[in-house]
Amino acid sequence: MSTKPIIISASPHVHSDRTSKKLMYDVVIALIPAFLVSLYVFGIGALIVTAVAVISCILFEYLIQKYLLKATVTINDGSALLTGILLAFNLPSNLPIWMIIVGSLVAIGVAKMSFGGLGFNIFNPALVGRVFLLISFPVQMTMWPTALENQTKIADAVTGATPLGIIKEGLQFGETMTDLSYKIPTNLDMFLGFTGGSLGEMSIIALLIGGLYLIYKKVITWHIPVTMLFTMAVITGIFWMINPEQYANPLIHLLSGGAILGAFFMATDLVTSPMTKKGMVIFAFSIGLITVVIRLFGAYPEGVSFAIIIMNAFVPLINKYFKPRRFGSKIKSKII
């Protein structure tokens, strides 16, 4: 026998080789295509914003764990990295650096570490950071360098609104969808990512590739993204059919405003989404619904971020009332 004493522990004595760290890094991998596209479209700005967000998120996590909480430092579990990336993906690529740092502080310090760190937060840290910035600095947060014309040079980026922003403003002042359709990028451009917007939200194709990779790796299930996008498509579809001049068509809604990024990467955040499939469907349905309500009737042209953090708040309630069916309980209901 070896010199080390024999180990006693309770069963089970084997373990699958999945670890939470691997899950996180899988998401990072899935985000690479979208990052590459934004690098192509926005140039070095995308790199700067992402790097600043990532570094400051990790640094804040380190400082807080080490000096405020005096706990073990777990910055290499990948979650702060991911929060940084996703925060960056929700910011315009020309945001002043100090604002990015403030956003990271809010994301990590307020939304995550105040609750005890990984796994205990109620709200999606990256989105809290983003919403905080959006509300505090609406001007900078809603001015996007427009795509294409200024690849690779950030110095004098032309700013413009996102397709949804153009539509919202236009409709409010009496323009019709037909007028507006000339002002917004074509569906194909939006699909490929040649449009204005936050740096990680524009390239639908790249995000879809990443999303499918996550589903393939079983990091996420299809329930949340599919339900959410389907709900959005149906509701915007109904309005569009009622009055195509007043309401944008569902495709525009799905292709713009971070719907895909939200559906695959933010609403699916394990920590802040429900624990059962049934719960996930309800969660995602509500996100879809609230997103559409905000986009069509609210003040903000873009509703995904808010919809997700609103529903984050409801997750404990959903978990409380949508439990997995207990084996052997009398009432037989189908399990989703």
């Binding site: 604002m99 403030v102 307020v110 905080f132 509300i135 505090s136 609406p138 001007v139």
Partner: protein, 202 residues
């Protein structure tokens, strides 16, 4: 039955150990509702202090004359009278503050702080102690509101007592003058308050 009370202790407790806002969580609505600027916080604090002081005085004076069963309604009437007086005086003489504080002036009536002090302190203690208690609590409340208001104003508008110290176009954390900012600022202020009070008084 009135115990001998160390008045200094009695006064200080309202500011530190039993701070109505940070420790006891009394009167949270005005605390959060009106503190979008330091001046509003101060105004609300003073108005509350006045009502608190006056009602503590009256309650402490007439405490033996009130049967316990109608204690609460009697106190409420007393408090409500002073609140109404404050309301009318503000409306007449400081109209802009009256407008700023809005619905939170009549709501001083239901500020748990005031009824709570009347109930648990003034109705049991003599006049002088009650006055000191009211002053301590009221000043604790004023400090809390002003600090909260100042914090929010500094962060949210880049000014303090309406004095702007950043340029007109500078970016400030607008969030802090909006409702969520009130909660968040108070959350971290109370962490700070606890830390400081533990450090200095233990």
């Amino acid at each position: 039955m009135t115990k001998n009370i160390d008045q200094k202790q009695n006064f200080l407790k309202g500011i530190i150990k039993e701070n109505p806002v940070f420790i006891m969580l009394l009167g949270m609505c005005p605390t959060l509702g009106v503190t979008s600027s330091a001046f509003n916080g101060l105004g609300m604090g003073v108005a509350t202090l006045f009502v608190l002081l006056m009602s503590n005085i009256v309650v402490s004076l007439i405490k033996t004359q009130i049967p316990s069963k109608v204690r609460i309604p009697a106190f409420i009437i007393i408090i409500a009278s002073f609140v109404t007086i404050v309301e009318m005086v503000l409306e007449a003489f400081i109209p802009f503050l009256y407008e700023q504080l809005g619905i939170f002036i009549p709501l001083i009536v239901v500020n748990c702080l005031i009824l709570g002090r009347a109930e648990s302190f003034a109705s049991k203690n003599n006049l002088w102690s009650s006055i000191v208690d009211a002053l301590g609590m009221g000043i604790g409340f004023i400090i809390a509101l002003t600090v909260l208001g100042a914090t929010r104003e500094i962060l949210g508008s880049g000014s303090i007592f309406e004095m702007k110290f950043v340029s007109e176009d500078a970016n400030t954390f607008i969030l802090f003058i909006l409702p969520p900012g009130a909660f968040i600022a108070l959350a971290y202020l109370s962490v700070l308050f606890n830390k400081i009070s533990i450090k200095t008084f233990s």
